[in-house]
C-alpha cells in the first residue's frame, strides 16, 4: 500500500492506495500543502477485487466514513476517487464547524460566501476571483466557526468541470493543473492547485460580510433574499446541520441574521464579478 498525507484547512488526511500512480498524482498536486503529524481521516483507494488491480482496474473508495453503494471508478479517474473520498469524510464526519456546501473568497479581512446547486457557478467564480485580487478560501466547503461565526478556509484542489476548465486555463495559464479526466459521472473534470497565498493562509478565517446564491446562464439580475429563505436554502446546503443539533442551529441562525444575502443571475464571469463588486462596495 502506498500512502500520502496532507492538510486542508483544519482537517488532515491520509490517503492510501494499491496504485502508486494515484498517490504520485496526489503528492504532486498537494506538494505545497502542510504534511500533518496526526490525521483526522483515512481514505483508501483499493481494487474492487484483488485481481482487478491489474485487469480493467477499478477503484473502490473506502475510508473511516463510507457509502456502501458508491460505484467504483476506472483507474484513470483515481484522483476523482480520492477527492470524493476526502469530501465524504468531511461531509459525514466533521463536527468542529458547520459545513456549508459553498465557495468562499476573502478581501480586506471579510469573506464572501457563494452557495448553490452544482452548476450554479460558485466553484468557478471563486476560482476566477482568486486570480482577480481576492484570496481564495475554498470552492466546495465553507466551514463556519461556532464561536465567532468566521468562515474558515478549506482550500482543497479546485475541481473544474466542463467549460470551467477552459475558462480557468485562460484566467490562470500558469497555474498547476492535474490530469484531465474525461467522461466522469460529473462530466470532464480537471483539478487546479489554488493560488499559493490561499494555501499559505489556510488557517486564517474571515468574518462573513456577504452571501450570494449565484445562478449561471440566466439574464443578469440581483435579488435580495429574506433570512427565512436563506435559512431554508442553507439547511439544504449543509452537510452536518442536523448532526450538530443546537450548536449548528445557533451558528446558522447568526449567519442568516447577520449577513446580507442576494441571489445573482449572470451569463459570464465578468458580469458576475461586476455584480459582486457592486454589492461589495455597498456593504
Amino acid at each position: 500500500m502506498h500512502e500520502t498525507h496532507f492538510k486542508v484547512g483544519p482537517a488532515s488526511f491520509r490517503v492510501g492506495s494499491v496504485w502508486k500512480e494515484i498517490i504520485d498524482q496526489i503528492e504532486m498536486l498537494y506538494a505545497s500543502y502542510p504534511k500533518p503529524k496526526l490525521t483526522d481521516y483515512t481514505v483508501t483507494l483499493d481494487a474492487i477485487r484483488p485481481w482487478r488491480r491489474f485487469v480493467r482496474p477499478s477503484v473502490a473508495i473506502n475510508g473511516d466514513f463510507m457509502l456502501p453503494d458508491a460505484a467504483p471508478l476506472p483507474l484513470s479517474h483515481g484522483l476523482l476517487g480520492a477527492e470524493m473520498g476526502v469530501n465524504l469524510q468531511m461531509a459525514l464526519g466533521w463536527r468542529r464547524q458547520l459545513i456549508l456546501h459553498a465557495s468562499s473568497v476573502e478581501k480586506d479581512g471579510k469573506s464572501l460566501l457563494m452557495s448553490g446547486e452544482s452548476g450554479s457557478g460558485k466553484s468557478t467564480l471563486s476560482a476566477i476571483l482568486g486570480h482577480r485580487g481576492w484570496r481564495f478560501m475554498g470552492d466546495e466547503f465553507a466551514l463556519i466557526d461556532h464561536d465567532n461565526g468566521f468562515v474558515m478556509p478549506y482550500p482543497r484542489l479546485i475541481s473544474l468541470k466542463n467549460q470551467a476548465i477552459e475558462t480557468l486555463k485562460k484566467e490562470a495559464p500558469h497555474a498547476q493543473f492535474g490530469p484531465l479526466m474525461k467522461d466522469t459521472p460529473k462530466g470532464d473534470i480537471q483539478h487546479i492547485v489554488p493560488p499559493a497565498q490561499a494555501i499559505r493562509k489556510m488557517e486564517q478565517g474571515a468574518k462573513p460580510a456577504l452571501l450570494l446564491f449565484p445562478n449561471y446562464g440566466y439574464d443578469a439580475e440581483i435579488r435580495e433574499m429574506l433570512p427565512s429563505e436563506v435559512f431554508m436554502r442553507l439547511t439544504q446546503a449543509s452537510a452536518n446541520f442536523v448532526g450538530l443539533g443546537e450548536t449548528g442551529f445557533n451558528t446558522l441562525k447568526h449567519l442568516v441574521l447577520d449577513v446580507p444575502t442576494f441571489e445573482i443571475a449572470y451569463q459570464n464571469g465578468d458580469e458576475a464579478e461586476a455584480m459582486i463588486n457592486q454589492l461589495w462596495e455597498q456593504l
Binding site: 443539533g245 443546537e246 442551529f249
Partner: protein, 99 residues
C-alpha cells in the same frame, strides 16, 4: 367545552423571529421547524400555560391588529388558532388537554 392546549417542554424550544417566518428549534427532537404567523405569536401567548383557543385569541387581539389574519380567511381567528395548535400536537410540540 373547548379543549385546552399546552406546549410540551417550553424550555426545550428556541423561538427565533426572522421575517414573516420564524424558526422553532426543538432541542428534544433536534428538528428545526420553520413557522409562519400567527404560529410564533400563539407559542408566545401560551408560554408555560394551558389555554383554550378563545383565551389565546383574546391575548393576541390585545397585542396585534388581527384584521390581517382574518382578511381573506373564511375561518374565524379562533379556528385558525385551533388549527395551528392541532398542528403543534401532531408535531409533538404541544399537548391537547381534553375537557
Amino acid at each position: 367545552m373547548a379543549n385546552r392546549y399546552k406546549m410540551r417542554n417550553v424550555s426545550n424550544l428556541i423561538l427565533q423571529h426572522l421575517d414573516y417566518m420564524s424558526l422553532l428549534y426543538d432541542r428534544q427532537s433536534g428538528i428545526t421547524h420553520i413557522i409562519a404567523e400567527p404560529a410564533p405569536q400563539i407559542i408566545e401567548a401560551l408560554g408555560h400555560d394551558a389555554m383554550k383557543p378563545s383565551q389565546i385569541e383574546r391575548i393576541l387581539k390585545k397585542q396585534y391588529d388581527i384584521q390581517a389574519f382574518e382578511d381573506g380567511n373564511s375561518d374565524s381567528f379562533e379556528e385558525i388558532i385551533a388549527a395551528r395548535l392541532d398542528e403543534f400536537v401532531a408535531l409533538g410540540l404541544a399537548e391537547k388537554i381534553l375537557s
